[in-house]
Symmetry: C2
Subunit: 220 residues, 2 copies
DNA sequence: ACTATTTTTTAGGCAAATCTAATTATTATT
DNA sequence: AATAATAATTAGATTTGCCTAAAAAATAGT
């Protein structure tokens, strides 16, 4: 597995997830910032290696083998992002590029020890799920807090408006990235939200809730 | 800076340190496990970029620019080795290859945060000095404990015979990799050594001292 | 249904880093 | 000092991953 191959598989994985279909040449080209001609070339090679199934002019689909590699790459990426934020005090918006490099270091001993060191986290700093060593992960749903329903529970993963004022207000209410919550009730009149967050009980206006991204654990 | 270029500069640095002279094509070829022809090629390129001075048939010497890159690569390598041993519980003999990959990730934010996280260590798990952010490091001298003199102080960095029996004996005496010591006196009759190690006072036979590698801080 | 537009692929090149084989320079030996 | 042995370099190929330009296929618009 070369670095470039891993990046292609990861891109195809994300496109498959988002669209529910195969990945077209142009979608991959856009996602990786390479020319369509280069993508065609690489798709041919990946198909030869049985990492994707590929019909000329009709895009690519991961095989089980290819999907497994993509998932393990995503696992490494998200574990490193978690490390950078939790241990090295990076901001959650500063981690992506460095993790993009770290993810390509393929040592099971390294990545499993890192997982243990971090306490087997299930979500990364952006609220995306971290696949475990077997490639399984928690299914989650990302949306704004105002789109949630009563009894939903999840984690705060970001804010729409990351201006100082907005962050200050959240800070004042003791809400931070990573806080977990459960929605108690929603007022139908003004859509204000009552919720338990950390160990406190809070009331949030719709306007504030609109500004908060959360990831909701999918109830089985 | 590509990965290959960094590896060449690092190899030349180590050869310069060991021999006190420039690095010949064959010495680099041996150290990197590449053919001499490939080395000639790369030396030409590194010289064009002013990272080494190079006279055909007479080997290579680092320029200040090239040396700085080599030292920063070594800094990254040794910080990662320290991280692997201290935080991820790798054995000191299991870290090299993984660190060989990690060292090529060039983010000052990453490496300086890692340095802080580790508490600005001065020696790596093998007792080799870690250059600081300015490229300076503690001068040390690696030898066996039996070669030391009275008043020498340093750190235990390894054992010659790493069999279970040998490690068991050291364990029994509470001597481990990373322990710091100061030599109190040496018996001229049987060369046995009295030393302070950790917070205890110990007597070691010459035979045991022969088996222990230490790194001695060079007194200014 | 036919043409225009968009997407994808092929063809041909380039740079990095390696290799083998052949050549040239340096060093050692008699 | 001439030659043998060793070391280093050049020449020519290969692989990976990208590019541009041109051709071919699929899709969209009337």
């Amino acid at each position: 597995m070369t670095l470039a191959e891993e990046n292609y598989l990861k891109a195809i994985f994300h496109i498959e997830q988002e669209t529910g279909k195969g990945a077209s040449t142009s979608s991959i080209s856009k996602s990786l910032n390479t020319r369509a001609a280069s993508v065609s070339d690489m798709l041919r090679k990946l198909a030869e290696k049985k990492l994707i199934s590929y019909e000329k002019y009709y895009g690519a689909n991961l095989t089980n083998k290819g999907r497994h590699i993509a998932i393990m790459t995503i696992r490494r990426h998200r574990l490193w992002e978690t490390f950078l934020v939790e241990k090295l005090n990076f901001g959650w918006d500063e981690v992506h590029e460095v993790a993009e490099d770290l993810e390509h270091i393929k040592s099971d001993q390294l990545i499993n020890a890192l997982d243990t060191f971090l306490g087997y986290p299930e979500l990364d700093p952006h609220g995306d799920p971290i696949p475990d060593a077997n490639g399984n992960w928690q299914k989650i749903d990302k949306k704004t807090l105002s789109e949630c329903q009563e009894n939903d529970q999840g984690t705060i993963v970001g804010v729409k408006d990351s201006s100082a004022a907005s962050l200050k207000l959240l800070d004042k209410r003791d809400i931070s990235i990573g806080s977990t919550f459960k929605i108690d009730s929603i007022e139908s009149f003004d859509h204000s939200i009552h919720l338990n967050i950390g160990d406190q009980f809070l009331l949030l206006t719709k306007k504030l809730a609109d500004n908060i991204f959360v990831s909701i654990v999918q109830q089985p």
